[in-house]
């Protein structure tokens, strides 16, 4: 009996080790493929960065799409963004090659599902990009307009509007990615309504005195501004 148990244990250990041993070349191949693609990506990104800087890519882009670009005001330069995209694309390719070392059919299934999902990702990224742009633009417009109207709560108003647009954008992006489904819609409704309600309360109740002081100041402005003629 003990002999049989030992035999069974021995067999299962051999099976596991054999299985692991059969996976090892694939794992090593995956690591090597990712490492090689990372090195290749780094080299390519470096060369691309040098090339783009040599041709003043950032400045040319700023001139070509200036108003839109400057509204977005990304924290990274366009050159850096392009090189990073190239770098990570190469790592992704290396990863797919490594996966193929395990099982060719697995890779094709993975690639197929990735490519089926890709349009959703692209659309979501575009929505996010445009939403961020529009949010920043509108927030800045509101901020400048509110300051020029002498509203003390200009920044709060601007932030509120910005977050309204951003929340709407994120909800739309998640919708494209098919993440969350009804929960996202529900959460968005609650959050959007919450922000609107918060703004309304801030203006209507919380900032009542602030608003009335602002309005009072506006009322007296006409009298105090009498001597000034700008034209």
């Amino acid at each position: 009996m003990l002999e049989q148990v030992r035999e069974a244990l021995h067999q299962s250990t051999i099976r596991v080790i054999t299985k692991l041993a059969s996976l090892l070349p694939g794992t090593v191949a995956l690591i090597i493929a990712v490492a090689l693609s990372a090195v290749l990506g780094a080299i390519l990104a470096f060369l691309l960065r040098r090339l783009l800087r040599a041709v003043d890519f950032d400045e040319r882009l700023a001139h070509a799409v200036s108003p839109v670009w400057t509204q977005w005001s990304p924290s990274q330069s366009p050159t850096l963004l392009v090189t990073r995209v190239v770098f990570w694309a190469l790592i992704l390719i290396g990863f797919l090659i490594g996966i193929a070392a395990f099982d060719a059919t697995l890779t094709s299934q993975l690639v197929l599902s990735i490519f089926t999902y890709l349009p959703n990702v692209v659309a979501a990224v575009l929505v996010l990009l445009m939403g961020t742009l529009i949010a920043r633009f509108i927030a800045r417009s509101v901020l400048i307009g509110a300051v020029n109207m002498n509203l003390q709560y200009a920044r709060v108003l601007s932030l509120g509007v910005k977050w309204l647009v951003l929340v709407l954008t994120v909800a739309m992006a998640l919708e494209h990615l098919s993440i969350g489904g009804g929960i996202v819609q529900l959460a968005f409704g609650i959050l959007f309504g919450g922000i609107v309600l918060a703004l309304a309360l801030a203006v209507g109740l919380g900032s009542k005195e602030l608003v009335s002081r602002s309005l009072e100041r506006e009322k007296t402005t006409a009298e105090t501004e009498e001597p000034f003629r700008h034209l």
Binding site: R140, G145, V147, N148, T220, F228, R229, L231
Partner: protein
């Protein structure tokens, strides 16, 4: 707005009846018939003063009242009246596009009648006298000047936008000391008006904002003078609309600065232009001015718009602005050098499109109110001569700061103090 080919048949027939005219007086504001009657009489007096056998046409936007204009016109055979929709109702005279349509209509009419000179009145007709019209058109008709800019008798706190930015900026850049580049009442030669409204190709020029006339005349080598014409009642601007007015006025100015950069970079110093008539003193209101609201607006802007100003202004200027925002209203003083650098930096920011141009132009409002507060405190007890001296100092500061503009214009990235 109609140009010559779009004239209604009735108006065309009227022009054919008139045949020809030497002078066109365009009234850009909508005028009541009794006011037009007065203008017709005034123009008649002017023509008699000029002692020439001149013929004039007064063109104006018709009011909704019953027309009595023909009776008014018959009172003086040398002056005719043509009602013509020059501007859409409630159009602001600072809206470049609409105003250029009005000027283009006046010019189209003048061209069809072979006019030599034009007088354009955009101020309220209540203040218009024969002296106004005479001094605006005489240098054009008798002395071959191309542009006659107005000099008004003003209160010290009137014409602030003109005094703070337009007058000194135009002088520093184009080298001509014109007091009122903003006008809005001008005398023109046909030659200059053609140049202003149409490009050499004959296509309509988008220029047309009154503020650009002086710079275009300077760049084109036209003969410019100015005339002391008397008091004017400037319109009261609702402060809520001030940022729109600033954007309307400064947008074309900054575009003009960009367009004429090759010209003004070569101009050094400035020279006076010939002035007709004696300066007319306006009764000045004395007493202290309450600037608290203006300073508060400036401080509010400083608290909230650092991010926007930071895109346009260099760190040193931004630091000065922040320091200024900590001053109490009665101690508030904005140095000329700082104000000049701010305007030059905004002109550069407009050219570089570092932020949306509309945002940039509107973000200048709190800074402008800061300058207004500082200026009002300085001149509240000044005599007209002292006010003029103060404005001359500001103009000198603009001229002195032109090297700063040149450096930043040529090397915006490298020269960023």
């Amino acid at each position: 707005m109609p140009e010559l080919d779009a004239i209604p048949a009735e108006a065309r027939q009227r022009l054919e009846e008139i045949g020809s005219a030497d002078l066109i007086i365009g009234i850009l504001n909508t005028a009541h018939d009794h006011e037009i009657g007065t203008v017709v009489k005034t123009v008649g007096e002017v023509l008699r003063e000029l002692s020439q056998n001149l013929r004039a046409v007064v063109v104006h936007s018709p009011s909704d009242e019953a027309p009595e204009r023909h009776e008014a016109a018959r009172e003086n055979e040398s002056v005719h009246v043509v009602p013509w929709p020059l501007l859409a109702p409630n159009t602001s005279l600072t809206q470049a596009g609409s105003v250029s349509d009005g000027y283009r209509s006046i010019f189209a009419l003048g061209e069809s009648l072979g006019a030599r000179g034009y007088g354009v009145i955009a101020s309220s007709l209540e203040t218009v006298t024969s002296q106004w019209i005479s001094r605006l058109v005489e240098p054009v008709l008798n002395m071959d000047f191309d542009l006659v800019a107005p000099c008004y008798a003003r209160q010290k706190l009137e014409g602030l936008l003109n005094n703070s930015i337009l007058r000194p900026l135009m002088r520093a850049l184009y080298g001509r000391r014109i007091r009122n580049p903003l006008g809005p009442d001008f005398g023109f030669s046909a030659k200059l008006l053609r140049r202003l409204l149409y490009l050499d190709s004959g296509l309509p020029n988008r220029l047309g904002s009154p503020v650009l006339f002086a710079s275009e005349a300077a760049c084109g080598g036209f003969q410019v003078c100015q005339a002391h014409i008397g008091e004017r009642h400037p319109p009261q601007i609702d402060l809520m609309n001030l940022s729109s007015i600033l954007a309307d006025v400064l947008g074309p100015v900054f575009l003009d600065v960009e367009r004429n950069a090759p010209f003004w970079q070569k101009v050094r110093g400035s020279h006076a232009v010939r002035a007709f008539g004696e300066p007319i003193a306006s009764a000045q209101e004395d007493g202290s001015v309450d600037v608290r609201r203006l300073v508060e607006s400036f401080q509010l802007g400083s608290r909230n718009l650092q991010e926007v100003w930071g895109v346009v202004l260099p760190p040193a200027t931004l630091f000065e602005v922040r320091k200024l925002a900590r001053l109490a209203p009665d101690e508030f003083h904005m140095p000329d050098e700082l104000w000049v650098r701010i305007i030059y930096d905004f002109a550069l920011g407009h050219r570089l499109r570092t932020i949306s141009r509309d945002h940039l132009l509107r973000a200048i409002t709190p800074l402008y109110l800061g300058w207004t507060a500082s200026y009002a405190l300085e001149v509240e007890r000044s005599t007209p001569d002292m006010v003029e001296y103060r404005l001359e100092q500001l103009c000198d500061a603009y001229e002195a700061g032109k090297t700063y503009l040149l450096s930043r214009w040529r090397w915006p990235d490298r020269f960023n103090p």
